[in-house]
Symmetry: C2
Subunit: 580 residues, 2 copies
């Protein structure tokens, strides 16, 4: 392609709100244009990259035995009522009324539609397994779209859905997809790590994310420091060995005066006890609550609440911090609250609907300092089971760097920033049961199919690649997903020989199957070099009067510091070798 | 692909509301599944056909020099306010509020977005021409989706937009697209006719439709009977030579008593004059009018109103018939109305906003019988210009079969039914002016770009092909767009040799690059034959015990009546030859 004929102009400046490298460079290099917050058009360069990524994905999905389908963007809300997600999906479903006043939604994902499709075409165990995928447009009305293509509202996504007759089959399908994902990212030229992840609004038990490590990533992942340990997890999901409390005999509960003490740190200091010997109360409410519901969280003073784990403990309801008004109305005393006495005659539970969720660390730690539910007083020697109880006891603690790895190893957790580029889930029967995707098994019994689902954001993969591969001049694109392989420039546009040779090199390379972007513009060399660096094609080839004197052209890999000279006579061979 | 592993079950019965062949067969053959009215999922067979059509389109667009982009489904309403189409587009834009309470729409077409993109990347005449295309999802909230994929609400469309510096350039771009369209339809194996068409809500002056002739088509097209004449037009647009009135001296206006006469036919009979010597009044209102606006149409008694032409005469406002209440309120007398006296002191124009639109036939016909605007009275010798006038005089008459061709030939119009599969438009500067897609020309003057736009509905092309190519057993798919090329069946599933040979033929054909759907199911031959006919792949290959006795397999083209036998030894050669 001649650059003079290629649509799209590179920009000297990125938009004012562009903070991440991919946002800046994708905009400046004319890969994308913003149409609204989180909504983009792809210009020819961007579209070419998108197509290359899509083709890699398609080939690997096909070779893993998945079958391509396509499902609609606009769907009846009814379908989502069937699965139970119409009102609970996060972010909330974008909704509209059609001309006939029917409630429609824009699909953020397609579990419902696929299950509906499967239900109509599944009869017997002989029909299983199958795996359906599409590369298709999704809409998620994110509250805060950001970072260009990293967090958008409308996007192209490859989503696949597997159906199996039993858990063993699901394991096989899940592993096949994990393997396909590794191949896809490998072929795209990016280095990802598979980590354990929370399943979020998609649901199901197990899920794994594929994360590309990059400083600007919005996700934190923890990786075990022990080389022999494979533990890696998103911070939302990460577990760790909590520092164990020393075993002690339970002592008698004892009220102590703690004048002016409002924080756990202050309390520990005042009572000369470690924070790990205290229990902290944190008040939440379900996001949708209008004021009469409190989630009373008890966690050891040395730990912090992980709100994703808390959401799972709240059966998927999104938690928010309770307001001072809500706390007071429930008769809770901020700064001196504990689960002790929640059920007292005139206690908090007599005034508000309170769910007590207790981190498992509290259960195993004896003789904790806890709130006395009156200002300036605390208890010593609070013991779970004897002095207070929880409606739910589970792990709701946030892992931090340095925490002990949950695996049976000597390692500790090391934090990295990363961008999620893929996510695979074991859904189980969550959708097949509610939406009737059942089959008659060999034993004659009707059963719901076991499902998995598997997503990759196509544009996000491009953006993440740039986050991990750029310098201060522009992108450094892997060959497999760059819009072209070679940026060819003739420098001295007044020199007829240079122009003729550059045109000849363009033709020769193109005929040899190399994808060339030929900068044939009549602009100064500096402009061409800047655009070459910005657009970040793997190899720059320069034809100049100086080089031609020696019968040479200049080649520079975008990811190398120095240029090399190659004989003009073997330009095709030299370029092909340099691209490897 | 082994049919036993391919997702989707053929159905014995079509859905009750399926009336057209494509709707019935695409559903029964598991190409598509309806999700809501006018909203479909594509199953693997359908998706494969869609991909093949898309690839043909993509190749021809690329080779015509168009550049692929992609633009969003969800867009800010603001963009449509800029072009002036936010409230006028038909069908009305599907609209939603996003989480931040912004007005968004689902794009039914992308003139606005492309022009917005062009405006940001167009500076000089040197940047022109360019042509941007995408294959992308559209949503049009049709009031009455019907006929399966023929009239849907959500669909994949290839839309291209050309930008040129002048009319000559636009002509070149337009012709290049017309040529590409002919190649696309040719390669897809379907026979289309290019006809003149109305531009509808897309706007612009000239447009051509590509129509596939099929009885079930919802469009009527007229083609000239003269073989040497190329005239062909959609009925909405079709012109014709109106029977000329005999020249006469204008006679004096004369009121006549016409007791009980309410129709033009009755009037002509009563006055013993041909209907072509009468002028008929028809009352319309703009669809959005709430009752105080009348469009008073005068047309010769022998002609009917073409509402598409009328809409254009109304500057694009959709016409509807006026209600009896509206007519009476305006002081108009149905059955005896005419434009004569519209402006009388106490006349209709003193009571309502009335636009008088007159078909050009009326202007050229002297001494017409017209209404006298009082019950049971008419005028003789009404003459346009002397007795009444029109605010707009133009052609608003509907062509009928047998009408004289508008070209300079001896032919007449012959009606055909057809399905529109493509539409190309010369838009001119309609969008570039309002949305700022301007450039500085060689003369230093800033000018708006001249635009064209070019659409093909991908799914519609598949459905139209089936409308034109089917029998009572199923589809007859052209090789280029069939999901597979060969339907291979082994008949005697209990015969190990048959099973082994069929599997071997499957492998041999697949290795030779033939796309085979191998019916490996353990079902009776009748089921296999029925499915083969229903799915309609170009060639059926049957391995049977009887054939193998002679070392032969059976081949039957789906579009042929009879099967032939071919030597098993050369099955690949025979199949490849039969596919040509």
């Amino acid at each position: 392609m001649r650059l003079s004929r290629s649509f799209g102009k590179t920009l000297r400046n990125a938009p004012a709100d562009a903070e991440t490298a991919s946002h800046k460079y994708l905009t400046r290099a004319a890969f994308v244009q913003q149409v609204a917050a989180g909504i983009y058009s792809y210009l020819p360069f961007g579209q070419r990259s998108l197509t290359k990524i899509s083709n890699i994905i398609r080939e690997e999905m096909d070779s893993a035995g998945a079958q391509e389908v396509s499902m609609p963007v606009v769907q009846p809300r009814e379908l989502w009522e069937k699965s139970g997600r119409a009102d609970t999906y996060q972010p909330p479903l974008a909704s509209l009324k059609d001309r006939r006043d029917r409630d429609m939604v824009l699909a953020p994902t397609h579990e419902e539609t696929t299950t509906f499709m499967a239900a109509a075409n599944l009869e017997s165990y002989r029909d299983l397994p199958f795996n359906l995928y599409q590369i298709q447009t999704k809409f998620r009305d994110e509250a805060r779209p950001r970072a260009g293509l990293l967090r958008v509202r409308e996007f192209e996504m490859k989503d696949a859905y597997s159906f199996d007759k039993d858990e063993e089959g699901l394991d096989v399908s899940f592993q096949a997809m994990a393997a396909a994902y590794h191949r896809i990212f490998n072929r795209s030229g990016i280095d990802v790590r598979m980590v354990e992840a929370d399943s979020g609004p998609i649901g199901g038990k197990d899920s794994n994310e594929f994360v590309l490590l990059a400083e600007s990533g919005e996700d934190t992942i923890f990786v075990c420091s022990d080389e022999n340990c494979s533990y890696a997890a998103n911070a939302e999901k990460a577990e760790f060995k909590k520092p164990a409390a020393e075993p002690e005999q339970a002592r008698d509960l004892e009220e102590v005066h703690t004048p002016g003490i409002k924080t756990i740190e202050g309390l520990a200091e005042f009572l000369e006890t470690p924070v790990s010997k205290t229990v902290k109360a944190v008040f939440y409410a379900p996001e949708t609550s209008t004021g009469d519901e409190i989630v009373f969280v008890s966690i050891r003073g040395d730990l912090e609440v992980n709100e994703t784990k808390l959401r799972n403990a709240m059966d998927g309801a999104e938690p928010r911090l309770a307001t001072p008004t809500e706390i007071t109305a429930a008769g809770l005393v901020a700064g001196s609250a504990s689960a002790i006495g929640l059920d007292a005659d005139d206690g908090p539970r007599s005034r508000a609907k309170i769910t007590s969720i207790v981190d498992d660390s509290v259960v195993e730690s004896p003789n904790l300092v806890a709130g006395a539910n009156k200002t300036d007083y605390h208890f010593k020697n609070g013991n779970y089971g004897r002095d207070f109880n929880g409606d739910v006891v589970t792990d709701i603690a946030m892992a931090s760097e340095g925490d002990a790895c949950p695996n049976d190893c000597e390692g500790h957790l090391v934090a990295h920033r990363g961008v999620e580029v893929g996510h695979i889930f074991k859904l189980g029967t969550k959708y097949s049961e509610t939406m009737g995707a059942t089959f008659v098994d060999e034993d004659g019994i009707e059963k719901p199919a076991l499902m998995g689902c598997y997503g990759i954001g196509v544009g996000r993969l491009l953006a993440a690649t740039i986050e991990a591969n750029h310098d201060d001049k522009g992108m450094i694109l892997p060959r497999a997903i760059a819009p072209y392989e070679v940026y060819l420039a003739g420098l001295n546009t007044n020199d007829e020989t240079v122009v003729a040779v550059a045109a000849k090199v363009y033709e020769d390379l193109t005929s040899a199957g190399v994808e060339v972007l030929y900068d044939d513009r009549d602009v100064p060399p500096g402009v061409k070099f800047n655009d070459a660096d910005l657009i970040g094609l793997p190899l720059r080839v320069v034809v100049s009067a100086r080089g031609l004197k020696n019968g040479e052209i200049e080649m520079k890999r975008r990811d190398a510091d120095d240029a090399t000279m190659a004989p003009l006579a073997d330009v095709v061979g030299a370029v092909k070798a340099a691209l490897l």
